[in-house]
Symmetry: C2
Subunit: 581 residues, 2 copies
């Protein structure tokens, strides 16, 4: 072993001990007759001192050491005169009597410090150096802890960890599959799983009852910000359960993670229907750390002669506290935000509730003082608040005002009420109707069961059917989602038909699942959490890239190993494929 | 929730309780006025009774229930008159007062019993039914336990679980890679990892110190018995270690698994060099549950006028206890075994040490009584033992007699001395020399460090260099292997050159690793265990297929989901590839 202790554990109790440490040079300071070296490893930093008066040869050797060299040193622990109370090892230093340079280092292409000077591309290319930075290594260690907390929780609750295959079958639904040509079965392909969905259902048919897996999944998507072609899922499934059982077990799970990792106690995780969430927050991923609810003010705004309101399906308002004084310029820029292509609004109406009690709005022409007062009351607006109003079709209006809500929270740096605000979103529609193609799509996935009372609607008005599907949202980000599954052939077949699959397609893609349902399938349901996303939220990172050891960039490239790459013609020939011209 | 209890937990303490159970019908017996149903779930089996006198409607309903139906029943726990002491629930039964048929079942294609009538193909096709069988579900549950024991041990020892990527770069070395065409980078390919080797080394360069992962790996091999194209590895790496540190940590690990899962205490895991193992057992995977050591008897056999011996590089003998009386027929079939193409021997010599003290051999013509006595003594053979002799070139002789050793153990059902016999095999050669191609190959992999004292040999006689490489063998099967790694550019480059890689190949395949070694790489080493293999040994299964939930068959096909399969022309087009004619 190249060390007796690590660089994070020596303290005042070790005074006068002979120790061997190994690690990286974080910093080296030559004060003339004295050299100080900060030696770093995963556990901490320990200060080394080399004194010219004690050992001149050693001193000369130390002079040639640079940052990021790997050293093995022998020395004696000594109390420091200049104590650093901020770190564990801050009361001691090591008087070095032997230095073994295990590895030299060239000057790294960026500084290995909290605030590095390296751009993201450079840091991704030398990821092993970026991971030496404290925040990055702490993120990876936190990820390890969250994984263990997750496993421990699930195992305590009788879940079995069972591995499902990676080389499966392509069943393109929604996102594209990555495929793998088979050499031994020429012309045939495996596919990498987008999720172990059908396998976990078959595990329920097999009788395993409670299954989980922390598992890599793959989606060949057109890359968007903060998506990775491979990502990690906490995949869970249970038999003999109904929606309430899922809420009960996994509320405990989320509370447990927030407590053990985030240090906060959550009493209960609230539930909100999809419809309610859209209505109140303009999103199915409401960030409940902030109050800021949307009010429907249709009832008091219509038939006042303002044509824009009168022809609107919905009129929604948001009350921003304590900002009645905002400038024309800010109002204009908020209007511009609403009208930007990615938001797609046509304008923004405001009512300022001035400090003197007067009201000033952009619709003064159409509404008198008393009308505006009514709106003010309906919005619970007080003096110094400002009310924003969006109107139009229901869905669009809610989306716009939901986006505006998030923008206001950011721009006005509204203080969150609490650090973590999880919420279950329930009662999702079963289908999404694509008007252009006149085709239903599964909102969640085609294995989701409709509400028992809505089964009949599959025959009459499928687009109105509500699903036994749910998401769990934390701080405005979806961290998990799932459903109670269909477990009978008849309903499953019906859903496949409604989704426009031909009998042949059903058979070739999902025949095995329908076959399995012949032999006694239990009622079952489950959930999958986005592990990367949970880690990012708990690490306070915006991007999941910062909680993945070796991520790809936004074009799906691994800049470090330079992948994807060309392969040999021999390999292509073996696989019986050619590149198209 | 569809149950108040599971089918394995009710006992005499629950008498008179009202319970709800859900599960599968294992068995149903109609005794005229009484129907008995064995209801099964993952936890056990509970007996249900339906009495025609208590509820005739219910009785009629029960009559229509078949095997593998999924039921939810309400009932009262009652003491049994006919107790079954073999199972937990054997003292009670449930007097059913309500039956809800959750799912019906067609007659399964094979019986869901310990000894099933289903052939392997049928069972793989309906894997979810095969997994309902007790041995199979117990295997999967044991695998779960071994995974948890493994993680708990490693985490106690400060290892961090860190995920490495699955979409990496093709660097064909040894086995073939599975590749994944990239849609967004046309003409480029990812590869699936054969192991996370370079990534775990980069994690050491990053400073993570102790890493592990239970991870799927992929090898596109020509299928052989009991190989899977995807398999699970317990992958570990440590920094600042030497060989002895690896032995110390991972001996603890293996002992821990054998104790916690196998219930046996192992005091110490012995070490044996590769050369010694070949010499004594004719294999680098010696099964030490059996004594049966090979003796070199060259010294007393040569120059006796027997040309076959005289021209042999090696003469090896095995002494089989208590079988001097075996028939001519058995001797002939052993000779045939030795001469079979897969063994490749040219003949088998024997010396019978008869019960009356006389010796009878197939070389009586060349050896007198006293010569044979000498051989007997050298082999520690007693009355009633039989000695088998193989001779020829050293390597081939050892392989043949090693194979014969295993065959004798099987055929004569030799009792093992102990249930588990782990052993470290050390000091592997660094290279294997391919005489045909006049090319060195890495015996382990190209990142393996030579022994410190053999570094010079890389320049003079690389084929003689010994590696800091080791395997761990359990009951004659390799369950893990690893090495201390090279951590400097110069040596790593030298090895790549010796392996015949051009400068360009080195750069394009391993440039990132050599680049990383510029910036302070720590000394490091590691090991990877075959998780499937460990599970198979601990479950007493011959095939790893029996410890994998959804395995592929020996042609790499998943018979259940029918994969690999054809993919759409659109998908091929998107990926910019075509099938060759």
């Amino acid at each position: 072993m190249h060390r007796s202790h690590n660089c994070g554990e020596l303290n005042i109790k070790n005074i006068n001990q002979e120790v061997v440490l190994s690690g990286w040079v974080q910093n080296i300071r030559d004060l003339g007759g004295m050299i100080f070296i900060d030696l770093r490893d995963r556990y901490g930093i320990t200060q080394l001192t080399v004194d010219i008066n004690q050992n001149e040869n050693l001193f000369q050797k130390a002079k040639n050491i640079g940052r990021e060299f790997v050293l093995k040193i022998n020395g004696i622990v000594q109390e420091r005169t200049n104590k650093n109370k901020k770190i564990n090892t801050g009361e001691i230093e090591i008087i070095v009597n032997k230095i073994n340079i295990l590895s030299e280092s060239e000057t790294p292409p960026f500084t290995i410090e909290e605030n590095t000077d390296g751009g993201e591309e450079m840091r991704l290319k030398h990821r092993y150096l970026d991971l030496r930075r404290k925040t990055m290594s702490e993120n990876i260690i936190l990820r390890h802890k969250i994984a263990q907390e997750t496993r421990n929780f699930l195992i305590r609750n009788n879940f079995l960890e069972i591995e499902t295959p990676f080389l499966i079958k392509s069943t393109p639904e929604g996102a594209r599959d990555f495929v793998v040509p088979s050499r031994l079965n020429k012309g045939f392909f495996y596919a990498l799983p987008q999720s172990p969905q059908t396998f976990k259902q078959l595990l329920m048919v097999a009788g395993f009852d409670r299954y989980f897996q922390l598992v890599k999944c793959f989606r060949d998507e057109d890359f968007r910000a903060d998506r990775q072609p491979e990502f990690t899922q906490i995949d869970c499934e249970m038999s003999f359960v109904e929606e309430e059982d899922i809420y009960s077990v996994f509320s405990q799970y989320v509370k447990n993670i927030i407590k053990e990792i985030g240090g906060e106690e959550i009493k209960e995780i609230p539930k909100m229907t999809f419809a309610e969430s859209i209505d109140l927050y303009g999103s199915d991923k409401p960030d409940l750390r902030f109050d800021l609810k949307i009010k429907n003010i249709d009832s008091i705004c219509k038939n006042k002669g303002f044509n824009v309101f009168d022809k609107s399906e919905n009129i929604s308002a948001l009350c921003l506290k304590g900002n009645s004084g905002i400038s024309r310029k800010i109002l204009d820029s908020l209007t511009e935000f609403v009208k930007s292509p990615q938001i797609g609004g046509s304008g923004l109406i405001y009512i300022k509730c001035n400090l003197d009690g007067s009201l000033k709005s952009s619709i003064d022409k159409f509404f008198n003082e008393s009308d505006l007062k009514n709106i003010q009351n309906m919005c619970d607006a007080k003096k110094d608040d400002i009310i924003f109003i969006i109107c139009g079709g229901y869905k669009k209006t809610k989306q716009i005002i939901g986006d505006l809500r998030i923008e206001l929270i950011k721009r006005f740096q509204i203080e969150p009420k609490n650090k973590f605000a999880p919420v279950w979103i329930t009662d999702f529609p079963l289908f999404d109707f694509d008007k252009e193609k006149q085709q239903l799509h599964a909102m969640h996935h085609p294995f989701t069961a409709p509400k028992n009372e809505d089964v009949e609607k599959l025959n009459t008005a499928p687009e109105e059917a509500i699903a036994q599907a749910y998401d769990i949202v934390l701080n405005g980000q979806e961290i998990g989602g799932g459903s109670i599954r269909i477990f009978d052939r008849k309903t499953q077949n019906k859903i496949f038909e409604l989704l426009g699959l031909s009998e042949n397609e059903i058979k070739s893609k999902f025949g095995f699942l329908l076959e399995a349902f012949k032999y006694g399938a239990p009622p079952h349901g489950g959930i999958a959490f986005g592990f990367d996303r949970i880690c990012a939220i708990m690490s306070n990172e915006k991007s999941i890239r910062d909680v993945i050891a070796f991520p790809k960039n936004n074009s799906g490239k691994d800049l470090m190993i330079d992948s994807p790459s060309l392969i040999d013609d021999d390999q292509l020939k073996d696989l019986n494929i050619k590149l198209s011209e």
